[in-house]
Symmetry: C2
Subunit: 325 residues, 2 copies
Amino acid sequence: MIKVGILGYGNLGCGVEAAVTLSDDMELVAIYTRRDPKSVTVKTDTLVKSTADLDTGKEDIDVLIICGGSATDLPEMTPKYAKLYNVIDSFDTHARIPEHFANVDKASKEAGKIGLISCGWDPGMFSLNRLYATAILPKGEAYTFWGKGVSQGHSDAIRRIDGVVDARQYTVPVQAALDRVRAGENPELSTREKHTRECYVVVEEGADKARIEKEIKEMPNYFADYDTTVNFISEEELKKNHSGLPHGGSVIYTGETGFDGNKHVIEYSLNLDSNPEFTGAVLTAYARAIVRLHSEGVTGAKTVFDIAPAYLTPASGDELRAHFL
Amino acid sequence: MIKVGILGYGNLGCGVEAAVTLSDDMELVAIYTRRDPKSVTVKTDTLVKSTADLDTGKEDIDVLIICGGSATDLPEMTPKYAKLYNVIDSFDTHARIPEHFANVDKASKEAGKIGLISCGWDPGMFSLNRLYATAILPKGEAYTFWGKGVSQGHSDAIRRIDGVVDARQYTVPVQAALDRVRAGENPELSTREKHTRECYVVVEEGADKARIEKEIKEMPNYFADYDTTVNFISEEELKKNHSGLPHGGSVIYTGETGFDGNKHVIEYSLNLDSNPEFTGAVLTAYARAIVRLHSEGVTGAKTVFDIAPAYLTPASGDELRAHFL
């Protein structure tokens, strides 16, 4: 049995808890929290412990799945715990990946451990599909579309506006753009042409809706470059119709081969009821992989690109060849 | 530069020739044939040589891409040449994969080489997607649909019927079945419910079309279990509208996570203008991978499951993390 620890118990930590529970070859040893462990109620009967226990380096776990945020948690946590345990995270600040990779690589190599970063579906499964497609068809182009799904970052940005009580933002791919890409047109698409943003907003009584709508639509980076629609709804409606965290999207790659310019379209798409639960499931499969790789003497920082697929499942090579090939 | 040899120059060998030509880090050294080399005209200015040269074991190649048939060529060729070179094939007789793997493993281990078998899109990319999805969502179900595309085996079967001059058979997935699977219904689907077969047949003048149609539709294994339509057309029409070898299909995986039964759909689909050119491109990327793995001292038989994705491209780890993650 692979002994797993989870650090952090938000939506993602809870998704990992569920995924480990579904894995016959894994045992959830403890969930670690920076909060008072007594204040945290988890879904299974797993022990909740303090990060102080984790810091001793003495916890009996084969891998620690770190479920923190990319902005401030992971840049600090992952290198810190890579000195003590095999670790895995879902770091998704693209521009800072090289720096994060270097920090984790140094820590995990010194400790003789493995640290796998940027795991999930994007970065993660979408990255893999961009890589596989480009390797097979070097003459081609990759397009990534996200949604329809909830962007938590954009929802948070709306919540920070004065007069807003709660909000939910959906990223929606533009059907016409999807159609053009799938038809092999290789279009140049602007940000506005690829996605729209749909906002569902609950405001305080008497709030100035026109001002709030304007603030949302003109918000730089988040909304200004998109066609954005704002719907004001009641708190009840938000709870009833927008409480889930669905997401998904597609990597579409179009490429050419041969002497006659034959065209090919490769598409990988996800349609997810729960973004954190799916991300948690990907993290769990890769946690298995790094424990197995580590038992072969491998150390250092890794990404999904470095992991042979066979390591992700408990099945033997014979079983894989017989049932999956 | 990776030095590549191709063994066999049918549609697939020609597809590999095109793919190697598109790969900046590869050099096509020679195309080997069992025919008289003088009788074989290739698309590039590559040297055509006899398999007798290959048999010496002295050819200056890093990898041999074997483009033979699975029925009789590959079971003999791949183990034979695995004793002399790094080799790769597209062996696709599912029931005999364990035996073929064992034979290639023995030969390549003794020679200190790598032999990668069953590479292409199914087996190959579809296999990978069945594996990744199952590893992430162990509670779920994989569905594979093929087409719309030309099945060469089924086309050949029709051609063997008395009175038939030429034929082209398309395998077509049933839209209603695709819709049910994508909707997450997890249906049990019979062979007939998943695919139909469309045949375009050219017959001799005065041939008994009713008899030919009956023979096709009742042919065991090939057509009897399917809803089959037979269209009699002229030789000109066959050449004009059915001379390509398009194919494709989808692996659709539906699975559950979490404590509330959240559902997820993962779909990988291919839409290929040319089946042999795409298969050739996959073989070429994996040929690169095994040469790189071999340079690290790895030997023995492998499948796509055993190859970390990073090995498929000439890009460095830094480049991959910066541009694909």
